[in-house]
Structures are given as C-alpha cells and as structure tokens.
Amino acid sequence: MTDPVDSSGYVVSTPTTQTAPENTCAIEACGISHLFGHDVIAVDEVNLTVDEGEIFGLIGPDGAGKSTLIRMLATVLAPTVGDATIFGDSVATNPAPVREIVGYMSQSFGLYPDLSVLENMEFFARLRGVPSDEIYERIDRLLGFANLLEFMDRRAEHLSGGMKQKLSLAVTLLHEPQLLLLDEPTTGVDPVARREFWRIIAGLHRQGITVFVATPYMDEAERCTRVAFMDGGRMRLIDTPENIKASVPPELIGSDEDRPSMEAAFAYVTRMIAEEEASERAEAAEQVAVEGEES
C-alpha cells in the first residue's frame, strides 16, 4: 500500500467505526419506492442491504432511478412507499440522525460558485456544527487530503471539473460521516482526475467509511466490493464484480482475453435480463389468451 492518500493522514472516523458493532448494516432498504406525480415510478420497491465497510456500486442507464434512490437514502427526498434504515435509523421517520452520519454528494456541483474554496468549507463546517476550535484544523486536513490547499483562496467557479468534485467531497466529509452517498461523482471529469478521485475514495474506504456510489463507468464499478444493476426503477442484479464476470459463458469471451471485461459482462447480463423479461411477458400474454379461451 504505497497510496499517497494514506500519507496525508486522514483520520476521520476511526473512533466511531471502532465502537460500531461488527456486521452492522450501513444501508438496509425495504421496499423503498418513489413516485413522481401519480404515474411516474422512479424507484420501484427496491430491497437492498449494504454492509459496513463496503464500496457499493450502483450502475444502470439514465433514468433508471439511481439518483432518486440515492436522494431518498440521503433524506433529501421522502420515500412514497417503503423505508430504508441507515445504521439503524429510518430515513422516512427519523432523518435527523441519518443526516449526522451520512455524507451526500449530489450529481450537480453543490457548492457556491462565488465563494472561495475556503469560504465554502467554512460555511458548511459552521452549518454542520463543527466545533469552532476544530474548524480550521479539519479544513486544513481535508483540503490537504484532496490536494486543494494551494487553491484555498480560489473561487469555486474557477476550479477545474476534477477540483470541483474533490472540493464537493471535502465538503461532504466535514462532519465526519460514516457513510458516503456519491451520485456520479466523476461524471464529466477527465481520466487523470477520475483516478485521483478514486484513490481518495479507496483511502476513505480503508479508514472504514462505507461508500455507496452511482457511476456510469464500468472500470469504477469494478473497484467496488459489490455492484447493483438498476433499470426501470428496479434492482435487476446485485453481486460482486467477480461473480458477474464469471456468469458470462466462456464461449462468449474473446480469445485474446482470459476473462471478460466488466463492460462485456454487463452487456451480457443486461441482454440476459431483457430476454428473460421478454419471455416473461410472452408467457403472461399467453396466459391471458388461454384464460380468454376458457371463459
């Protein structure tokens, strides 16, 4: 482990993770659903368990309901039906303690463009109730961790895409959360910055922080301990990246590779799911036809 992140000394939540009991569920969703208006089902009865210490990846096409699911887990949006608990606290009925332990990074840049890096950090630290005598020590540590110390006085609007995302992450870490909910944190960021961002995530993970991340990138999904594939508001598949890749029949793997890429594996899995659904629909239609004849 020669990761540069380790040397920066991010020591956030070691005490809290030590006191937490073994095998706690970071997230436990039970039939959580969200409807926009009366007929648009964004998230459809999702059941999900994420253990403490996981990096859990969420993938799926645009409009699959990933953001809506994350926003419900972050208590930004109330579930229409169902519920989820974050370290035992319900997002629907008891959001206050959930907000204390969750760090949420939305898909859009959730910072004030006209405020400097430092001012953004100061504002959110105060809003989060970080004790006055700890604020600057914590800001220094987090900005150092995100390699942003030298840009402290730059206005957020003048940061590069990658730096903006690192600043967003630093802001979500101010209150020392145990669970990070990241909604496509690296979309629109160049590959180098993307790798750096993931090094930071890996560092946080090693310190015991649970990460739940939506991503459109398969190489990022491959770094996760488990991956969920979401489509049409439903969870289609939850498994480890290894198992997903292993599920691809050997004859479909190209001769020049000894194992399928994550991308190929997902293309395959997606096709399988679609075929399965089509046959289910056909069966259902047949059933209706048969019932019609009988009556």
Partner: protein, 379 residues
C-alpha cells in the same frame, strides 16, 4: 438554541459574501434607489406653472387688453401667442403648443360699460387631466376676481357703497404642507415604493438560486431547519434595507427640504418592520418560483403595482373601488406610506400610529411563517 443561532449567522455571513462579490447587486441596492428618488422627485411634479396659453382678443379695446394682462401676469399661465381665429385654437391644441386658450368676444368692453355681462371663453385641453383641473380652477378664480372688480367699479359709479353689501368670506388654510409642495407629498411615499421594489427583488431570487446551483440539497442534508434558513437569508438584507431607507429619507429631508416633524424612533421601528415584510414577500415568491426569471418578474409585479397603486402614494385610497381598498390591506405599503407621511409631515408618533406599526409587525411575522411553510412543502 446556540447551535441554531450559529447556523443563522453562518447563512447570514455567507449571504453577505454573495452580496459583496456581486457589484451589480451593490449598485442596484445602493445607487439605484438614490437615483430613483432624484428622478421621481424632480420629474413627478404636481405643481403646475407656465401652462402655454394662446389668446384671441376679439374686442381689441383697452378693457379687453387689461383683462388679458391679468392672465399674462399670472405664474400659472404663460401667454405664448396671440391668434386671430377660433380655428387657430384647434391647431394649437392638436400640436400641443397650448394647454389653455382665452377668447375675449367682440363687444366685451361695450357690454361692461353698459353694465351687462362681458363675455369671455376659456378653452382647456383636457388630455392631461391634472393640468386641465388646475387650469379650470385658476381661470375661474381669475375671472371671478376680475368680475368682482368690475362689479365694485360699477357700484361705485352708480353711487352704491359696495362695503354695505353682505357676503361670504371663506378662510382657507392648508395644513402640514401649506405651500402644497409636491416633494413633501411625494418623498415619504417614494421611500416606501423604492424600498419595496429593491428588497422584494433580492430575496425573491435567493432561494431559487440555491435550487438552481444545486446547493439546496446540501442545505437539506445539514441539521439546519427551514426557519433558520429564512432568518439567515434575510439578515444581511434587513441591514441593507434599513440603511437604504434611512439614506433615502435623509436625502429627501436634506435635498428636498421635506420636514421630519415626528417621532424618529417610531419611524425607525416602522422601517425595520416594513423591510422585514418586503423580504418575507420576496421569500414567498422565491419558495414558489420555478426559475430566476419568473421570480424576478413576479417580484417586480408584486412589489411595484401594489406599492404604486394601492398604497395611497399617488392615488388616494378612498377614491378607489371598495374591492381594491380591501386588497390594499394585503400589502404592507399602505401602512408604511401612512406612517411615513404622518411622521414626516404631521409630526405624529407611536400614540397615533401604533395600529399601523402593529399591522406591519403582524404582517412580518405571518408572511415569514408562510414563506417557511411554503418552502418546506415545496421540497
């Protein structure tokens, strides 16, 4: 409680940074109101003088010339030309070269000499009602005065002592603004209208901007409560609004000699409450508006129209239809205009104005609560 105060202060100081970083806002809130005051106070004048007047002297005698001289000597009329035919009046009115035409009919002097009625006609261009109203009053007064002189002269010539005749003597005094200066009438109302426009606009965009920037979600997941957000948002604007309003009032007093006769403390308290009301209206707009543009337009409509039309600022409330009078109670401007005028011109204080001040206080509390509730429901 302390944590709550800390969060309100955190939001307040953040808002101050936003304001400081945006020179357009600073110009808008500090310079524009002063310019507006100057423009309005100089441009809107209800004092009418030097109305261009044409004269048609059909008699051309010494008596008719004396009669016309009286018009020429008045500050109100300014005789611009002498014309020869009635059709010239049409031309002068159509071309807006004259607002009043005075016609002395032929035989004017002969009729007076015989003790009959001398005939004059005054035509007034009614397309600007204010001027027309003044012109009518002035010319009636002037001809009455001249007519009375003629009568006295005639009585004296007939050997009757005019002082023996009875009559009615009216004693007219205009209170609070004896010279009836427009500035005294306008400035106290203008302060209210200008501040309403400036402040409503500012808070109207503030919550919409948080949503558009995506910062709103970060606020949601913090321990902050909605009410704290509202209070934090308005903190800097209360300060700016109050300072702004005092500056305009002071400028009115200093530059336009508008008196400040009443209780300054009552005035300051009312200003504070009024600014709160305006900011709360802005927040209500912001809680509902879907974009910055719609927030801006809604704020302008809500701030400008009622402040201008339903506040007693220019149009007297008692002459409005009853429905509009009721509606006027829904906007804070009418209370503040009443307070500003009473304090500045009439020397009033809390003992008279407490109902209006109380109304502003209740208005502020209710509208802030509504804004908070509406914002909560939206998200």
């Amino acid at each position: 409680m302390r944590a709550s105060l800390r969060r309100i202060l955190a939001i307040g100081s953040k808002e101050f940074i936003h304001i400081r970083r945006d020179p357009r806002i600073l110009i808008l809130v500090l310079v524009v109101p002063l310019v507006e005051l100057l423009l309005f106070a100089y441009a809107i004048s209800f004092n009418v003088t030097d109305v261009p007047t044409v004269v048609l002297d059909g008699d051309k005698t010494q008596t008719s010339r004396e009669f016309i001289t009286n018009f020429e000597a008045s500050d109100f009329f300014k005789v611009t030309s002498h014309i020869d035919s009635l059709s010239d009046i049409d031309d002068a009115f159509v071309a807006s070269e004259a607002g009043v035409a005075v016609v002395v009919k032929p035989g004017f002097s002969r009729a007076l000499d015989r003790g009959e009625q001398g005939q004059v006609a005054v035509f007034i261009d009614g397309s600007s009602p204010n001027t027309a109203q003044f012109a009518q009053a002035y010319s009636t007064a002037l001809t009455n005065k001249l007519g009375a002189e003629v009568t006295v002269e005639y009585m004296q010539r007939s050997g009757v002592d005019p002082t023996q005749a009875g009559g009615i003597d009216s004693y007219l005094r205009t209170w609070y603004n004896p010279e009836r200066r427009s500035a005294d009438f306008l400035v106290p109302g203008l302060i209210v209208v200008i501040i309403m426009i400036v402040t409503v606009q500012q808070t109207a965009v503030t919550l919409v901007r948080e949503r558009e920037q995506g910062t709103f979600e970060q606020l949601t997941v913090s321990p902050m409560r909605r009410g704290e957000l509202m209070l934090g948002k308005i903190t800097p604007w209360v300060a700016i609004g109050v300072i702004d309003m005092i500056a305009i009032a002071a400028l009115g007093v200093w530059l336009f000699d508008v008196p400040m006769r009443g209780d300054v403390f009552t005035f300051l308290l009312a200003i504070f409450l009024f600014v709160l009301c305006c900011l709360a209206i802005g927040l209500i707009v912001s809680a509902r508006a879907s974009s910055l543009e719609s927030a801006n337009i809604a704020a302008l409509l809500i701030a400008f129209l009622p402040a201008f039309m339903l506040s007693n600022f220019v149009f007297p409330l008692y002459s409005l239809p009853a429905v509009l009078q009721w509606i006027s109670y829904l906007f804070p401007a009418r209370y503040m205009v009443a307070i500003a005028r009473s304090v500045m011109l009439k020397g009033a204080g809390m003992e008279v104005l407490w109902p209006q001040v109380l109304a502003l206080g209740v208005y502020a509390a209710v509208s802030l609560t509504i804004a908070t509730l509406m914002y909560a429901r939206r998200a």
